[in-house]
Amino acid sequence: MASLSDAHTRRVFLKLTAAGAITLATAGAAFANPADVETLIQKMTGGKKPSEGRITLDLPTIAENGLVVPLGFDVQSPMTENDYVKSVHIFAESNPNVQVADYTFTPLCPKAAIQVRMRLAQTQRVTALAIMSNGDAYIARKEVKVTIGGCGG
């Protein structure tokens, strides 16, 4: 009967795949993941849960070229000495480095709105986090489909 040797090869195979999975996991560690974004958001808001709204995120639904993806945002705020947008942070959760840009505004800015060009490695969700002068946090997210990836390669 071949069952004994079958069982043996299966055991060897399982051992090998297990080892393979570990190698893959370590290799994957070089790439960031969505959890990193949540950790960064927690750190920037001081644990406060950001609310939806006030941010208009201007991103294409489909980006033909991941190397140059136009990104714009506009955060609703009176931009006065007592009530203004302190900072806006942009994250791309499936890029090698999830951080894209960190904007610092002052009451001297008439509005917290910008346009920039960013790289996206693959189809993913882009997050904008706005921190107000009173500590309130707002969040907006948008999924962008990338046809040709940017970063690396």
Binding site: F105, T106, L108, C109, M118, G152
Partner: protein
């Protein structure tokens, strides 16, 4: 790396007091992400512009920290208020310690 890094700024030269104007900036730079490999498979070291600031008469009004996910030849637009005649200065900070500057005098009529 481009031979020369040229910063460009486009904004009105005259405005009414209190006007809100859009500033458009562009700088030629490879923004090497540090994640690309050369033909021999070796990682190309990171070399980007990591910070941009805008000041009016020496006072900072806007700044941004850039990460490798910013495209080559970074374009950045934003809005400023022109309270009076004065000098807008723009500075880009390179990873290698170099700074690139541009300025624009705006006259309030």
């Amino acid at each position: 790396m481009a031979l020369t890094v040229t910063p460009r700024v486009r904004m009105p030269k005259t405005a009414k007091a209190g006007d809100v104007v859009e500033v458009k900036t562009l700088i030629s730079h490879d923004m090497e992400s540090g994640y690309r490999k050369d033909s021999t498979g070796k990682l190309i070291p990171r070399h980007i512009i990591n910070k941009f600031t805008a000041t009016f008469d020496g006072q900072e009004i806007f700044s941004v920290d850039w990460h490798p996910a910013i495209s080559a030849n970074p374009y950045q637009s934003f809005y400023v208020r022109v309270p009076k005649t004065g000098l807008f200065e723009f500075t880009w900070f390179d990873d290698n310690g170099t700074t690139y500057k541009a300025q624009q005098q705006v006259t309030v009529s």
